[in-house]
């Protein structure tokens, strides 16, 4: 596979806050690549630099073989982008928003009309094409923005928090669109998200970002397998006896807390019957037993010692500082 995005030691500093800290990775052609992390981790900053909207403080990156600082226009032609906040003209119709984009990107009229028709069909907005965007729901706007981002046939599509603020059903639909797009159009998709399920469900590979640094990068499966596999939790009146009874080779780790025993192991479903049989033989009562497959949330937890939600609460303060600084810089 060929590399379409190459990032080398990319760094962005706002005043004394390091938003992106020496980030390096490559993205292959045709991948759906996820940048996962809490709000304020630096995901949008990375995306903004790759989209040439923000100048890096140091380091470099190439997009479709072009340098993000020296070949701005070439990079901009190669990418489609769906911003985190909406960027449609409410007072124009869906078709007019598409048409505006097509003209801005110099697509000849016949080709433009044909592609708009085709893309509106793809995102199922054909019957609403002449309606004003201000009458659209959040999900429809997002679909229109995705269609618009594809109009000039970009090599890479950036999606910045594509499902933020959408209801679960709409989110599921959007995931389907995105997966279909990557398959049918063969384009590379890079998305940022702070939804674990989104990264897990959609992405071929995921980079987990925290405090501006890449703390892990792999396929969702490898990331989850890497933190010690599954967890079986048993509630019982005799937790100590369970720890004694289950000293088996396939148990990688055991912990006992508040009448509960958590057992880490690989492929839990294969060992459940053995666990139950062993405990039954030793006459140890079981109140409840649960199997948990690890999520990317657990991966994040194991790398940072915090859940994403806790991390977001922590970074809020520094986010505000950053915004204040941004505002002052404009003056």
């Amino acid at each position: 596979m060929s590399v379409v995005i190459h990032i080398d030691q990319l760094t962005k500093r706002f005043n004394n806050l390091v938003a992106v800290d020496k980030v390096s990775f490559d993205i292959d052609h045709g991948e759906i690549f996820g940048i996962l992390g809490p709000n304020g981790a630096g995901k949008t900053t990375i995306l903004s630099m790759l989209a040439t909207m923000l100048k890096p403080t140091s380091g470099s990156a190439t997009v479709n073989g072009m340098d993000i600082e020296r070949e701005e226009d070439g990079v901009r032609k190669s990418i489609g982008i769906v911003f985190q906040t909406q960027s449609l003209d409410d007072e124009l119709t869906a078709w007019e928003n598409m048409d505006f984009h097509g003209r801005l990107y110099q697509i000849p009229s016949a080709q433009r009309n044909q592609r708009i028709t085709e893309l509106l069909r793809l995102v199922k907005l054909t019957d609403r094409k002449d309606d004003f965007v201000k009458t659209f729901s959040g999900g429809m706007r997002r679909r229109l923005e995705i269609a618009r981002g594809l109009l000039h046939h970009p090599v890479i599509l950036f999606l910045d928090e594509p499902t933020l603020g959408l209801d679960p059903q709409t989110r599921n639909h959007l995931w389907q669109y995105i997966a279909t797009l990557a398959r049918e159009k063969g384009i590379t998709i890079i998305l940022t998200t702070h939804y674990m399920e989104e990264a897990d469900h959609l992405c071929n590979r995921v980079a987990i970002i925290d405090h501006g640094k890449v703390i892990a990068l792999d396929t969702p499966k490898n990331l989850k397998d890497g933190i010690g596999g599954d967890v079986v939790t048993i509630r019982s009146p005799k937790p100590e006896a369970i720890v004694q009874a289950l000293k088996e080779s396939w148990v990688s780790h055991m912990e006992q807390q508040n009448g509960e025993v958590t057992i880490s192991l690989q492929n839990a479903e294969l060992h459940v019957s053995a666990i139950v049989t062993l405990l039954y033989e030793k006459r140890i009562p079981i109140d409840s037993l649960a199997i948990n497959k690890p999520t990317l949330e657990d991966v994040f937890l194991s790398f940072t010692g915090k859940t994403i939600r806790e991390q977001e609460a922590d970074t809020k303060g520094s986010m505000q500082n950053m915004q204040m600084y941004e505002r002052m810089r404009h003056r």
Partner: protein, 251 residues
């Protein structure tokens, strides 16, 4: 290629303008009342010394001018609303020259301002504007377009330095109204106290008002050629300043 982009931006501005009929009608309210109250109301009380016109005749070019300036500054500030609603990102991330964008925005603003001016002019015909001749109208049109370009660019320049549209009212009250008030739109320059006259002559809009007045009534206190030169110069400078500041505008 640059023209394509400029045309695209211009087209969007025109679509938005023509679509909102209520806004067009609403924006004509204020100049209409100026015409009625000031123009007709003060006509019998005020005489214009030495110009041989009645006050209605005198004030009509000023009100036309007001409409053009007001609309164009508003159009320039439109980019702030685009920023607020996110659409500016869509424009700024496109692989096109920012000059082409700012040029389209300026022309779009100037066109809407010109059309608004025409509406006021047509209404004036019923209130007491005596037409001179076709050439006179064309001269007035020319000045209206120049004012439109200059003040849309002026609005863009201001908007490029502002964060959000909350300061808009401030700009209108403390920048646009003084420029209008000093321009000799509602009183003749010659009847001002001597110390204000130089300030009036520094106001670029003075030359716009006088130019339109020359076109519409055939009489002006400043030579129309001088008016054309001064206003034209201001329009070019503002376009350059607007383009320069817009180029440095952030997302």
């Amino acid at each position: 290629m640059i023209l394509n982009v400029t045309y695209t931006i211009w087209l969007r501005t025109m679509k938005r303008y023509l679509r909102l009929k209520s806004r067009i009608i609403g924006s004509i309210g204020m100049p209409l009342f100026f015409l009625l109250f000031l123009g007709l109301g003060l006509n019998s009380v005020v005489t214009i010394p030495g110009l041989g016109q009645n006050y209605t005749q005198f004030i009509i070019p000023g009100i036309v001018c007001f409409m053009v300036v007001y609309t164009s500054v508003q159009s320039g500030i439109q980019i702030l609303w685009d920023k607020q609603f996110g659409f500016l990102k869509e424009i700024l991330v496109a692989p096109v020259s920012r000059f082409a964008i700012v040029f389209g925005q300026t022309l779009g603003g100037a066109t809407t301002a010109f059309l608004q001016g025409i509406i006021v002019m047509v209404i004036s015909l019923f209130i007491g504007l005596h037409t001179v001749n076709l050439i006179g109208f064309l001269i007035a049109f020319g000045f209206m377009v120049l004012i439109g370009i200059a003040f849309t660019a002026f609005g863009i320049a201001i908007a490029s330095r502002m964060e959000d549209p909350t300061g808009y009212q401030f700009i209108m009250s403390f920048v646009v109204l003084p420029i209008f008030g000093l321009s000799g739109a509602i009183f003749p320059i010659s009847s001002l106290p001597a110390w204000i006259v130089p300030i009036t002559l520094c106001d670029p809009l003075t030359y716009g008002v006088e130019g339109i007045r020359y076109g519409l009534t055939g009489i002006s206190q400043i030579n129309p050629i001088l008016c054309l030169a001064a206003l034209g110069f201001f329009a070019i400078v503002m376009t350059i300043v607007g383009a320069f500041l817009f180029r440095k505008m952030n997302y």
